[in-house]
Symmetry: C2
Subunit: 340 residues, 2 copies
DNA sequence: GCTATGCTTCGAACCGGTTCGAATGACGAT
DNA sequence: ATCGTCATTCGAACCGGTTCGAAGCATAGC
């Protein structure tokens, strides 16, 4: 493999000169710069990443910690990964993907070994065990998801409170009085999935203010269980005229369930979900929804992270907690409730 | 950050001794080994990955080249990624994920810079432009997907020919005479998606042998277009009693389409697909299918790759082309055709 | 004519590991 | 007492980059 010494020799200059010629960090005569560039291209020189990382203490790699939990709906996760990966590449960074179920251990290894210059954590929980590890690490970190304690990290998340309010307001405004919110399974909340109750509490509060009845139920997050759950729920609560979904699996299963029950939206039932447009396309979901913007969140997280890595932000620059405003994508699945 | 020099000093030995004590590559007195291990744990020593990679020319990283093409169904891709990531982790390797649309350039950079010890290519095309780059690289590579030329790489793929035969045999055996195969869009074939025509040709051949009529059609690979396509196809070919799917998007969309047409499987139409069990669960697909085993393929690819990296296989050990035998998962969506 | 200045270039040190050859010392055999 | 053997440890070199200080040299200024 050709190294910078080979290039320097072939160009008839010192190694350091070749380095400066290629990096441009010091001025070099045009003649030499040209010759070095030429020789480098000719020999097919590519700098050794390990050596460069050692010398500069910059790996040009961002760690991406994603956990594929059995009770998470994997396709929803993929979009965050794509958002992060694409943005990182655009900014010149590679991404090291960890799917290790032992998040804290994986994070510690990645940061301590200096394999990564910074870290993006997906699917952050209220009391996320990875956070103490991240705070102790010398590299900066950006989160997608809101933990209880945001000190020392940059945080990006959908404004789930506002999402809950918007969903209820929308249906209440159309005249609905009996709403059903299908939420994530209870153990997702127990594990610290704060977004679940953030949306849920705001929805309940808004319902109280508007004087409408909102019942919260938990559904399974996997097929085919969620389909059975939905049938059971609709059986148990026939008075429901508006359905709110904060559970991707439920959204994916609902069209089939509604067909089976010979229900159509919005004639028989108004439905509003919370998922991304991409997700809606993938699953052919005909329901209006609050856009969860995974690509945007991934992009924001990486951009901020890179700013910190490259010290555009001083170390003590205040950390941000930024919420994406929910946007309602109207797919025509809501209308005033049917006359009784 | 604490380095091996700090550990050595604190333990009162030379750097080299500390290194040997930790790696066990030479014998060291029990006393010293114990003390070094103790001190290392106490100081929280983690070896610097760049330095180690430089010294050993081993990065302990595997490159994963996945392309998220607009005409590929992303959720199907995710399962390969998970399979590769999990197996790599189990074998002690990290995964560097590249989603760069310019595959050859990304591959060249990853290999030439020695960031990775080997590479897994997903979604390999008949004349894949990444292959010449991979063959020129010093690292070994494993493919998921069968290219025209397999020299110099290990190849793993589903036996799509056998899959095509099995699907047709199954339906012909039940008495179907009019079959419709929904394939990928034509530009997937043009781009070199060999698996499409491998399955298709074998299916046509088998149909000819069995004397049944098989029509091949191409469907869009994204929602909602594929739904419209399916409706149009069923309108145009009402004689069809058996449907074969080699298009994930079509499989995902079919339940809705069938509901809309008030068709049920297998009473009105027998359906058989080609996708993974995981995929079937995610999309609540009620159709029998040929298992595409993405996790197994990912695992096989990584295991073989690691064997090559670690020189358990000599450099000139013959490369393998291994096909996974298709397995029919019966979900009860096929039966003899309805009496006319 | 001599020094100050600026542009190029070079050599050496450094990042943090691993690995090779050799030095040291204890011990048993002759 | 001497030599050889073995286990243990050390020092130095090396991997391939980057970066600092200084040297070389031509030109301008006095």
């Amino acid at each position: 493999m050709v190294n910078i010494g080979d290039v320097a020799r072939a160009a008839g200059v010192a190694r350091s000169t070749a380095s400066y010629a290629l990096s441009g960090k010091r001025s070099v005569s045009d003649e030499v710069r040209r010759r070095v560039a030429e020789v480098a291209a000719e020999l097919g020189y590519t700098p050794n990443a390990g050596a460069r990382a050692l010398a500069t203490s910059r790996a040009m790699v961002i760690g991406l910690l994603a956990q594929f939990l059995p009770d998470e709906f994997a396709p929803a996760m993929l979009q965050y990964i794509q958002g992060v990966a694409n943005t990182a590449r655009d900014l010149g960074y590679d991404i090291l993907l960890s799917s290790d179920p032992d998040g804290p251990a994986a994070l510690k290894r990645l940061t301590d070994s200096r394999m990564v210059d910074g870290v993006v954590l997906l699917n952050v929980a209220e009391h996320d065990e990875r956070l103490p590890v991240l705070r102790a690490a010398p590299q900066p970190g950006a989160l997608v998801g809101l933990p209880g304690d945001c000190t020392g990290v940059d945080v990006f998340d959908l404004d789930f409170e506002e999402a809950g309010r918007a969903m209820v307001e929308h249906l209440a405004g159309l005249g609905h009085r009996e709403l059903l919110l299908v939420s994530q399974p209870e153990h997702v909340i127990e594990r610290g999935g704060a977004y679940v109750w953030r949306l849920q509490n705001a929805a309940l509060e808004t319902a109280a203010v508007r004087g409408v009845h909102l019942r919260v139920v938990h559904g399974s997050s996997s097929q085919p269980d969620i389909g059975r759950d939905l049938h059971a729920l609709l059986d148990a609560h026939p008075e429901t005229t508006g359905l709110l979904l904060n559970n991707e699996a439920a959204a994916a299963a609902l069209p089939t369930v509604m067909h089976e029950r010979r229900l159509t939206a919005p004639a028989d039932l108004s439905v509003i979900g919370r998922y991304s447009d991409e997700f809606a396309r993938t699953f052919s979901l005909p329901f209006s929804s609050i856009e969860s913007a995974p690509d945007r969140l991934g992009r924001m997280a990486v951009r901020q992270l890179v700013r910190r890595i490259e010290k555009e932000l001083t170390d003590d620059a205040p950390h941000v907690v930024r919420f994406v405003a929910p946007e309602l994508v109207d797919r025509g699945s809501t209308a005033p409730p049917p006359a009784r």
